[in-house]
Symmetry: C2
Subunit: 448 residues, 2 copies
């Protein structure tokens, strides 16, 4: 190769499109594995949908136009104009509705699926807000009737996940649950014309405080003080039993919320709270709604949200398909902890063992030992060149590989293995070496 | 909900953007898990890059313009014009080069990474050719020098993967290996002016046959019969030892290829073949090149390709970064077997156990039994409503869940569990029930 200096273009990260170093990615994989394991432990099956949908499918929900990325071929030809315009999906709920309608006859209901994919939103990038990010969703969809127990299963699953993620065990988080029927019932009972505007104001309660919301409701929505008092007393109520429903809709919502909360009594007291100020922006929710916040930093926004919808796939199929679902905002949650330094980033490789290469003529022995250990479920990197031992050990050190294996340097010598943390080194046999699994990157499976 | 007939828009699959049913996705997950396990067992770490790169980064490689999808916000504003144009990546090699250059100081070399992501190409969809598909890549990149042993490790890893994928064990596949220096050396030795055109013709040998290639080389490239004979004798040679190198470049290529083949002697005889007609379209390969074909259907095209490149990241960084890599064309391989009916699609759920719900007042017992089994690593779906037992069993049957668990229907009764395949039903205790893992969808880990 030429040694002359080349003119180079220094590449940089594209704003809003995150990527991680190998040691960060290793933690990210642990997160995905944990989330998948819990989702599956409740019997949810995985699906994936294409990254794109027809633009009209995505737009049917309204509101989110600004956030949509459309795609097109750089060199379009006349055929491209004939096809529907395609756009990257901005969530996994709209694609799910389309999927369920399209494959209705091939699915078994209640259809319980999880979905872990990237989504795209062309919003201005800022802290915790990416343009490309992962969401982890679970939803249950049934025909005609969906038991309310599922509304309680969602937060229980999410609590089990969030409270045990690597790096998350020190964080205080809380799931906040409400039921839309309570507030929409109240709007009806109070005969409020522009209930959407009022709900938008209520949604800001946590962010701007009671006085500011009161002012909006008075000055912008023209509500009188008694009505405002009724609304704000309701949404700040802490005891559901003390609430007097004003109509059947409110009564139904309260009953549902109480049922869901009762089903969650086995969780720690601080894990879940009924919070009637929870509104959720998207308009397809019709009952239970969920948000999840850091207790110490509620302004960071919800890291896990969802709710019940009566008929999301109704525009595609002549069936009533009620559902309930919840979505972990994976990337924003992961990046927050990453930036806080909450992760153990020692490991830059999944390898459990670095196999030393003592000399070129010993390569076959080293490769054979690596082969035997791999068969037994260990992850083994064979060092690539017969360099000085010091250099090979330094490599294991820098990659955070916890064990270094020494195959025989001469005939009839034993194999030895060195624990890089304790420094201990002792004879070992690739065929029956057994060591407790390391915390990260270790395939427990085949070694047990 | 209203019962009236709604006007519905029947959604359909977007051509070239595949999606699978849950039972197909379950097999796809087994494939990904297997591939990941083998990649990691050799010490490759995972990385992911954003789905997009700056258009200029993707275009630097030339040739592929037509296939690129650009993205843009549906509602652009003046700010959008200031940023670089973005496009979906069409492979994982160009993003890897950019990643290595960008994070050079944070990586440990040799950098061994695997990458399993979707890529996009705006080609006309046809059998085995999607517009959105998964690739599974491994590459090793080092500074200045990269041992030739890695060129042999790649096909060994790929053989280990492909020969053991669910559904693939009956398929006859073969890795074909060549070294570009042999053919480019020959072009030099024969003083052939437009060697690219000649290599393109040679690349068609398997598809159109020797006579047709001879005709192209004669009529289109104006080569005389002796030169054509020399070229075609070389590329159809089956015994590397019989080849007489015409210059140093050829000699070096032959030596490298012989070394790689010798390192692969432990594989089954039919697994790997030296094939000097392998050219590979992309122009960045400089040494070893790989293709992989179905022996019974070579026309399906290569399902796994790659090679060695001397300096892929050279346009980004003043370092020599030689690498070697190989990429599994995951989706086209998976879809071929799917269409052939090679998969066991009985399981529509990852659940090992369906927990029967005997009656609403027995829900707590059933939930507790499910909880205990989940803690022990089993995947357990709790049936959602206290419906007739027949209906609950039919549900397990339709989802392909292998065990049905009966919690006590009355106090002091034992739990029982039914093996859905054998029909056998017997008493069991959630705390210590042990059963051999089922073939699919079973988390071996926590149960061992």
């Amino acid at each position: 190769m030429s040694e002359e200096k080349k003119s180079v273009y220094k590449p940089k990260t594209i704003s809003g499109f995150p990527e991680w170093l190998p040691e960060e990615r290793l933690v990210e994989q642990q997160w995905f594995d944990h989330i998948r394991r819990v989702f599956e432990s409740y019997g949810f099956c995985s699906i994936e949908t294409p990254s794109v949908e027809e633009l009209d499918v995505l737009r049917a929900k309204g509101e989110v136009d600004k956030e949509i990325y459309v795609i097109e071929r750089l060199h379009k030809d006349e055929d491209d104009g004939k096809d529907a315009r395609l756009a990257l999906h901005f969530d996994q709920t709209v694609p799910l509705a389309r999927y369920v309608a399209q494959h209705f006859n091939d699915l078994v209901f209640p259809f319980k699926r999880y979905q872990i994919q990237r989504v795209w939103r062309g919003e201005r990038p800022q802290a915790g807000r990416f343009r490309e990010f992962y969401q982890c969703d679970i939803d249950v969809i049934n025909v005609d009737q969906l038991p309310l127990h599922f509304d309680a299963e969602m937060p229980a699953i999410i609590w089990e996940i969030l409270s045990a993620l690597p790096g998350m065990t020190e964080e205080k988080i809380q799931l906040q649950i409400s039921n839309r029927k309570i507030l929409t019932g109240l709007m009806d009972a109070l005969a409020i014309a522009d209930s959407a505007a009022v709900l938008r104001a209520v949604d800001k309660l946590e962010k701007i405080g009671r006085d500011a919301v009161e002012q909006i409701l008075r000055d912008e929505n023209g509500l009188d003080q008694a009505v405002i008092g009724t609304i704000l007393n309701l949404v700040t109520a802490t005891d559901l039993a003390s609430i007097e429903p004003l109509n059947d809709r409110m009564r139904e919502g309260l009953k549902e919320l109480q049922f869901v909360m009762a089903q969650l009594a086995h969780l720690p007291a601080s894990a879940v709270r009924a919070d009637l100020s929870i509104v959720r922006g998207l308009d397809y929710y019709t009952g239970t709604v969920y948000e999840t916040r850091f207790v110490d930093d509620p302004d960071y926004g919800s890291i896990c949200s969802g709710g019940r919808y009566d008929d999301l796939a109704g525009s595609y199929i002549n069936k009533n398909l009620p559902g309930v679902g919840i979505s972990i905002g994976f990337s924003r949650l992961f990046d927050r902890l990453r930036q806080k330094g909450s992760f153990n980033l020692q490991r830059k490789s999944p390898a459990d063992i670095l196999m030393v290469l003592p000399a070129e003529e010993r390569r076959a022995d080293a490769a054979e030992a690596a082969h035997i250990l791999r068969k037994r479920g260990y992850k083994v990197e064979l060092y690539h060149a017969p360099q000085k031992l010091k250099k090979q050990l330094a490599y294991a050190e820098r990659k955070g590989i916890p064990y270094v294996w020494f195959p025989p340097f001469e005939d009839n010598q034993p194999h030895e293995v060195k624990n890089m943390e304790s420094g201990e080194q002792k004879p070992a046999d690739p065929a029956n070496w057994a060591t407790p699994p390391t915390e990260e990157g270790f395939d427990h499976e085949a070694v047990a």
